[in-house]
Symmetry: C2
Amino acid sequence: MEAASFTRLSSPRTAPFSVTNWIKHPIPNKTNLSFRNSRSAAICAISERSSGSNTEGLLDSKVETILDSVKWDSKGLAVAIAQNIDTGSILMQGFANKDALEKTILSRKATFYSRSRSSLWTKGETSMNFINVHDVFLDCDRDSIIYLGKPDGPTCHTGAETCYYTSVYDTLEGSKEGKEERLAKTTLYSLEATISKRKEETETLPNGKPSWTKKLLLDQELLCSKVREEAGELIQTLLDNEDKGRTASEMADLLYHSMVLLNLKDVSIEEVLEVLRKRFSQSGVEEKNSRKKN
Amino acid sequence: MEAASFTRLSSPRTAPFSVTNWIKHPIPNKTNLSFRNSRSAAICAISERSSGSNTEGLLDSKVETILDSVKWDSKGLAVAIAQNIDTGSILMQGFANKDALEKTILSRKATFYSRSRSSLWTKGETSMNFINVHDVFLDCDRDSIIYLGKPDGPTCHTGAETCYYTSVYDTLEGSKEGKEERLAKTTLYSLEATISKRKEETETLPNGKPSWTKKLLLDQELLCSKVREEAGELIQTLLDNEDKGRTASEMADLLYHSMVLLNLKDVSIEEVLEVLRKRFSQSGVEEKNSRKKN
């Protein structure tokens, strides 16, 4: 079963196993689920499929070098932050020890060290909401780690998309009692949330405060003509050699109006970015290959 | 001088000082720079400008409640992650103690506790590259903090935009020696970097491997017709009630082609998002007000 899965990912004729191929073609999920908590098991899981004779040793030593380069604290830990590769949302933060980082690197599932339970835990091992790691970054001091990945579902144990939904300034404003909690969102996703809110208002408060967004949501002809117009104005800034500020402003207009259209189609920016990643990003090589084979 | 700055931000006649106003109109930068390292100084710096009699007490107790709600570890610390509010980039990670979090909340400059120097430090106090905090989030366990803000310049002491520029998988691939380091970037910014790379190649390797992006970069007429065409196709998915996947795909096309145009105009996605934030986001209220007054 595992061999069959591997064959699908990498044909031994055209792409013999190498560290590079492994990086582009991570171990299939089923292997990850039965991944045992030891360095040698992890290395064996990969080298079993290798046609090269010294891949195990090579990989072993490279991973070891990386693990040894981390500045583990007095308890053998470093901070590990899981971030959504498409949206940039910080999903959760935990700690990693050497084994947790190694397991993450080899299994591509975000894995942490639980200080309360004194054991490794892979996010998703009970909820099945794994964080599928596309890249791992170390900071300049080598004591802080980013797991850049794609979550299978909500990350927080409360069911929230991320663990960060308590705003200090909302709490200080003191007027948020009864209001729903607000996830930490960056600009694009705050705007997306605002558009969604306006959409709800057109349904629940049709006579409420008017807004341009609501007007667009209720008038498809106007919306379509605005998207077309803003695309034209963006183009014009190039043709007329207008200043940078003008281009940024027209692109902002085009993005906003397009996002209103996305809302009407119930499409999230995250879905659009996923399409872009699969088409263009370097870490999307495996997706491209798998598309060719399907 | 400080009083004058404050008057610009909030007229005492029309908007008497309140915790809410303070949240929308943070203390001007000059005050922040001379911000002293003590709780009472911070509270006084705000309440001096207050026309209400018990603002100090109210604010004091609310901030205290928040600070006490954090689950500080045995050393009195919690993880603090600084994130770019527009791009979502994780800029750096440090630790905060109670004083550091309080100073961040009140001064709106990301402040940490240095474990090596056993003292507070505000990012930017020597480099002037402050991180201007728009919001602060606590996680579900209340032991991890996000400072969501806008950096004045590069965050890393090496001059890099962020501290995360060492990819574990690049290192494992082993072929990156001599190659430049690669910042941890999410999808949109990876694509932006790829487009920039293609632009460089059109200049340094004009006869190199052809690509669609290069073709667009070298042919403005083609690029403009594609942006117009993709906007039309996005609109068509709404008018023809096509499926969600089609809309996501057309939006991805529009975004990509628009980003090629942005590259030709030397405009970054971050600049576009800054425009959007100032226009639309809830935390942009102060910018809107300041625009009205200018």
